[in-house]
């Protein structure tokens, strides 16, 4: 697997964003009122950029992602994809949207049907997408992106693969739809450090080679630091800080960002004061 060093980010682009959320709010009804999970969030995703959303559990990161994926209706606000309002599209339009905006979720152990081989799952995914292309060639190409070989991966059942392999298969499955945007919701949290970097490098390569736009949701600032061009920090449904990765991580302005950074366990530090 090859991977180049980070390119310095070319500053704010003036081109139209691929995907944007405008004033998106989500309220859940709870006993005795409403709970606002995502509060008036406006965010733009630019072509070929990796945007990381960081924040602790319950900060609304995943709710935002699920709304962008149109898996959860918004309470108010708009989702704009390639200049079109997709907040309320349905039917074939929505299916087309789901082809363009794909997702990889946190748990690589829960996103598989245990009774299907990888090959079977891929064929089913393609049938749902209704594509008439050369499926074998497409599958081989997408598995190649994530460093897997078709003849090794396709006959395997989920239990025959490691966590990292499963997550890479999930990335390959998402890529088969030829998406413009990939949402990775804590996609690497359950992997151990070595596999984690290999999945992050895959995302890095795809961004560079295919111009894929990536929304990377994580609570791990170290991963955001490695991968992202831009970082958004969320707290209690609000965006409290946003900007280029270097700015947000090395010169944090908001108290919450500073606290998140100070909570990151440090390999060279220790909380133990005893000898």
């Amino acid at each position: 697997m090859t991977s180049t060093a980070h390119q310095p980010w070319a500053g704010a682009t003036t081109v139209q964003p691929v995907l944007s959320a405008k004033g998106v709010t989500k309220q859940f009804s709870v006993a005795g009122g409403h709970f606002t999970a995502v509060d008036d969030v406006t965010v733009d995703f630019h072509q070929g950029k990796v945007l990381a959303v960081v924040g602790e559990s319950g900060s609304g990161k995943s709710t935002l992602a699920r709304m962008l994926l149109r898996l959860l209706p918004v309470t108010s606000g708009q989702i704009i994809y390639e200049g079109r309002d997709v907040t309320h599209i349905r039917g074939t339009e929505l299916r087309k949207y789901w082809q363009d905006v794909q997702a990889v979720f946190q748990d690589p152990f829960a996103s598989f049907n245990q009774f299907f081989t990888v090959g079977h799952m891929f064929k089913r995914s393609l049938r749902l997408a209704g594509q008439g292309v050369d499926t074998d060639e497409l599958i081989a190409r997408c598995l190649g992106y994530v460093g897997l070989k078709p003849d090794e991966a396709l006959p395997k059942y989920p239990h025959q693969m490691s966590g990292g392999q499963r997550q890479r298969v999930m990335v390959a499955r998402a890529l088969m739809m030829n998406p413009k945007v990939l949402l990775a919701d804590e996609a690497t949290s359950m992997l151990d450090a070595s596999l984690r970097v290999s999945v992050l490098n895959v995302l890095q390569d795809l961004r560079r080679d295919l111009g894929l736009t990536v929304l990377f949701i994580t609570h791990d600032i170290g991963q955001a630091c490695y991968l992202a061009d831009e970082v958004i920090v969320m707290e209690h449904g609000l965006v409290v800080e946003r900007g280029e990765t270097d700015k947000v991580i090395f010169e944090p302005q908001h108290e919450y960002t500073k606290r998140l950074l100070s909570d990151v366990p440090d390999l060279k530090g220790s909380l133990k004061h005893r000898v």
Partner: protein, 349 residues
């Protein structure tokens, strides 16, 4: 007091020659823990690190005396609290005798324990269950008093006892199951991936609580199992690095993190992503290849197919134990390069 510091710390637990295997289809054994010996000094936390599938959790289950089929303990003795327990006979009729030891001597906090709180019961019901399972003479109010005192001591809100699991955050749930699993003041707590599902702030709260618990002598010591090296370096006194069922390197945490003697340790350290300027510009490669199939492990050193320093001898012979004092590694490279640290760049080609 000062005169005592030179004496070696009193040993809390010693496990010798543990061998455990999964029975795959009745005839074939897959050894998951292979000739592992561990020691935990009193009042210390030992970290157990390694990739997924290296046998960390299996080792934890073996030590916690909760090995169930298809996992079989083939051999191994556990010396703790003046007892010598033959772990391989636990499942052969001696079970009832050792039941009180589970939870009281060795307490296990399994992976994902925070999701095991019944959604229909209050936290206080779980507290009563745990306490009364070990001591029928204790009443509900005794159990609750114990829990209240413990929560107050750790600076946690007592109202949690009257709440249901869904009313608590993930971090609070995890801290509660940790408190409940140590209510009986176990000698040893084995915590399996307690921080993996938590965000950084909850992680920090949990590890601070664990350190507090050891300092307050709520438990004699702990084994902390995770693949997250930064978390381990915050909380542990000593580290044991496991690869393919074997311990490849052990040592004091600070020393091991700064001067790894085994290439696998070094590779794990190289894959850590800190939020630093260096991380912004460097390219980290994972360890090439994948962990071996334990049903058919490589000969000699099990890491040799993935090791950038592999020599001809590595494939042929088991590596020797190299090292002085408590920092030791099983590696041919370390034998040829005494007192040298594995260069980090060498393993992240």
């Amino acid at each position: 007091m000062t005169a005592l510091t030179a004496a070696p710390p009193e040993l809390l637990m010693r496990a010798t020659n543990l061998n455990a295997a999964y029975s795959a289809d009745g005839t074939r054994d897959v050894p998951a823990v292979d000739a592992v010996s561990l020691e935990v000094p009193r009042g210390q936390i030992l970290g157990l690190a390694g990739e997924s599938g290296c046998g960390k959790s299996t080792l934890g289950n073996t030590l916690a005396m909760i090995a169930n089929p298809p996992l079989y303990v083939l051999s191994g003795t556990l010396e703790i609290a003046g007892l010598t327990i033959d772990l391989s006979t636990l499942d052969k009729g001696a079970d009832a005798r050792h039941r009180p030891h589970r939870g009281q001597i060795v307490s296990m906090l399994p992976q994902g324990a925070m999701n095991s709180i019944s959604p229909t019961l209050r936290i206080r019901d779980l507290v009563c269950d745990v306490v009364r399972a070990h001591d029928r003479s204790k009443s509900r109010s005794d159990a609750l008093d114990l829990a209240r005192d413990r929560l107050t001591m750790l600076g946690m809100p007592v109202r949690v006892l009257d709440q249901y699991a869904h009313q608590l955050s993930g971090g609070m749930r995890q801290r509660m199951v940790t408190v409940i699993s140590t209510l009986l003041n176990p000698q040893l707590l084995i915590a399996d991936e307690p921080t993996s599902a938590l965000d950084v702030s909850s992680q920090k709260a949990l590890i601070e609580m664990l350190i507090h618990m050891v300092d307050e002598k709520i438990m004699g010591g702990a084994i902390f199992i995770t693949h997250d090296l930064p978390v381990l370096s915050m909380v542990t006194d000593q580290l044991a690095i496991m690869y393919a069922g074997r311990i490849v390197e052990t040592g004091p945490t600070a020393e091991l993190v700064h001067s790894a003697r085994h290439p696998y340790t070094s590779a794990l350290l190289a894959a850590v992503l800190d939020p630093t300027r260096e991380t912004r510009t460097k390219t980290v490669e994972g360890i090439p290849g994948s962990p071996p199939n334990l049903a058919n492990p490589p000969t000699g050193c099990r890491f040799h197919p993935r090791c950038p320093f592999a020599m001809e001898v590595c494939a042929r012979q088991d590596p020797p134990l190299v090292g002085e004092g408590i920092h030791s590694a099983s590696c041919w490279w370390a034998k040829d390069h005494p007192h040298e640290t594995v260069p980090l760049q060498g393993v992240s080609l």
